[in-house]
Amino acid sequence: MANVSVENLKKNYGTVEVIHGIDIDIQNGEFVALVGPSGCGKSTLLRMIAGLEDVTGGTVSIDNDVINDIAPRDRDIAMVFQSYALYPHMTVAQNMGFALKLAKVPADETEARIREAAATLNLTDYLERYPRELSGGQRQRVAMGRAIVRSPKVFLFDEPLSNLDAKLRVRMRTEIKSLHQRLGATSIYVTHDQIEAMTMADRIVVMRGGNIEQIGSPLELYDAPVNEFVATFIGSPSINLLEGTINGAVFELSDGSTLPLPAGVTGPDGRAVKYGIRPEHFEIVQGEGMTVMKVDVVEPTGNETILSGTIGGQEVQITQQERLNLRPGQEIPVSLRLTAVHLFDALTGQRI
């Protein structure tokens, strides 16, 4: 186990800079998720930590030792790949024991460690099989097993669940998290799925275009996003962003209807802002509400109902826990939880 730190890290492909000097400190035993849209540099960052990509500038350190120029095999890092990357010509046991064999660990110890890892991952019955004889979920577990038998300083995961079907993905998510809780190893997990990041990570690093947008615990990011990008990236259904201007003590939408501003927010009149509020922070009220929503689509999911419609001519989605009897086209009075409202500058996207 170890702490990993990245300082002013840069990566160029030819003349194009894809990672623009980023800093992250990962504590011993922490589970950190790197999230962001495709091409944001999260996988490149992970591969630089692994040593599979050269570092253009800055440093990567493990336990305060700079490892920029250390070969991947000497970094004591294990990585689980998206495609699992199991060696097809080796059995499950050989796959798991490969690293130990290379490290010249005595055969009986290797055997014991493979057995232990296999027991943890329910793979004991499959040790003599070849990867092609396993299902997707089992292969995924072998890939995990191959990492844990080594007891490395750091675990890296590169979108390990994206090749699994939805149901299995949820189960493996839980398994990986419980495994991390048991082993307590420093883990860095790359995903584009914000739900995975939210549910598994101690801290999330949100990246975009080679920069870090925000680092924080899942709920910090959810409750206090620093900008519009983080706000829309985290949460499903996505946060509602209504466009309009500040007008005295109210927010005025383009059609002239108004919404109250959160306490303490004032601004120059006419400042263009976006009014961000998450779907679950709406309440359907009897009588007079803060505004009126016109319902277009009603989607019951069982545990909640998603209502899509418009407020002041702009699209919004709200979720309600109650079972509702609503018809498309109906207009309903709604109130907002003002403490949960975020205002973002319309030009810079930064939170006000």
Partner: protein, 295 residues
């Protein structure tokens, strides 16, 4: 697979059989020729089947001209090709075997450079490789002879091997590079994190998983080398360094042609390539299509 009508199927099978017959037809006179004596061959050249069968041709070449049998009684002069046959066969095995192994090793290393190391000049290297295959071999013969003479490698098996490796390396590289390009990179990366060096990952993971491609490539190289006439002919003039194709060529001269002996040598010469193809058949089909389609 689309369902074919029975008429279409019969037509396709018939066409297939015809092509196979066309390819195998030349073998028929070879087999029949090898099994008769020169005398019966000349008695009636239009006869479809030999008047009498004999294994004397095989006895003669396998005994290096010692055992003349009935068919060759009274023949005093035997060309070097007959007396040195056994030696030539061994030379051929040695040359083709060494050429195949050396070419595969060098081509695999080149393929590693071209596909894995991000160097600017590998593109030019590949172009040079392709272009080098466009030069007809016969054009190179004179300069090759001079170079080999200066290196003191004339009349040596190592000279033949070296030249053939140089000739066949581009073929092997062109066959192997696309295969290694299609090879999933994660496997190597995973091995490098597991404790292999770049080269170690290549040797432990990439090469064992490339057996089909290496087998296919190896068979092609072996067959070309086994049949190569020009290079050994130019480099080796002494009978002790002859290979099989040179032996065959030596049976045709101004004064004599040993037809039936030639046919017997052809048959024996076919055996190793045939054996190799049969042994590696399952790899061949896989290897030649590997890399074409992902999966």
């Amino acid at each position: 697979m689309n369902r074919m009508t029975w008429r279409y199927r019969i037509f396709m099978n018939l066409a297939n059989v015809l092509v196979i017959c066309f390819l195998i037809l030349p073998l028929v006179p070879v087999v029949l020729g090898a099994l008769q004596s020169e005398r019966t061959l000349h008695e009636d050249v239009w006869a479809l089947l030999p008047a009498e069968y004999t294994l004397d041709n095989f006895r003669l070449i396998l005994s290096g001209g010692e055992n003349k049998g009935e068919a060759f009684q009274g023949i005093d002069y035997l060309p070097n090709s007959v007396t040195w046959f056994r030696n030539a066969f061994l030379n051929s095995v040695l040359v083709a075997g060494s050429v195949t192994v050396l070419t595969l090793v060098l081509a695999t290393l080149t393929a590693l450079t071209v596909t894995r190391l991000k160097l600017n000049w590998t593109g030019y290297l590949m172009n040079a490789t392709v272009v080098s295959r466009m030069v007809p071999l016969i054009v190179l013969m004179l300069p090759l002879f001079v170079v080999m003479r200066n290196l003191g490698l004339l009349n040596s098996l190592s000279g033949i091997i070296m030249t053939e490796v140089g000739l066949l390396l581009p073929y092997a590289i062109i066959i192997l590079v696309p295969y290694f390009q299609a090879f999933p990179k994660e496997l190597e990366e995973s091995a490098r994190l597991d404790g292999c060096s770049r080269f170690g990952a290549y040797v432990r993971i990439v090469v064992p998983l490339s057996t089909p491609a290496l087998a296919a490539c190896g068979v092609i190289i072996f067959i070309i080398s086994w049949h190569e006439l020009l290079i050994p002919l130019i480099i080796a003039s002494k009978p002790e360094f002859m290979t099989l194709p040179v032996v065959l060529a030596g049976l045709v001269s101004d004064q004599f042609v040993f037809f039936t002996v030639m046919m017997a040598i052809c048959l024996i010469g076919l055996a190793p390539t045939l054996l190799l193809v049969l042994l590696l058949q399952k790899y061949l089909v896989k290897g030649l299509t590997a890399g074409a389609v992902k999966g």
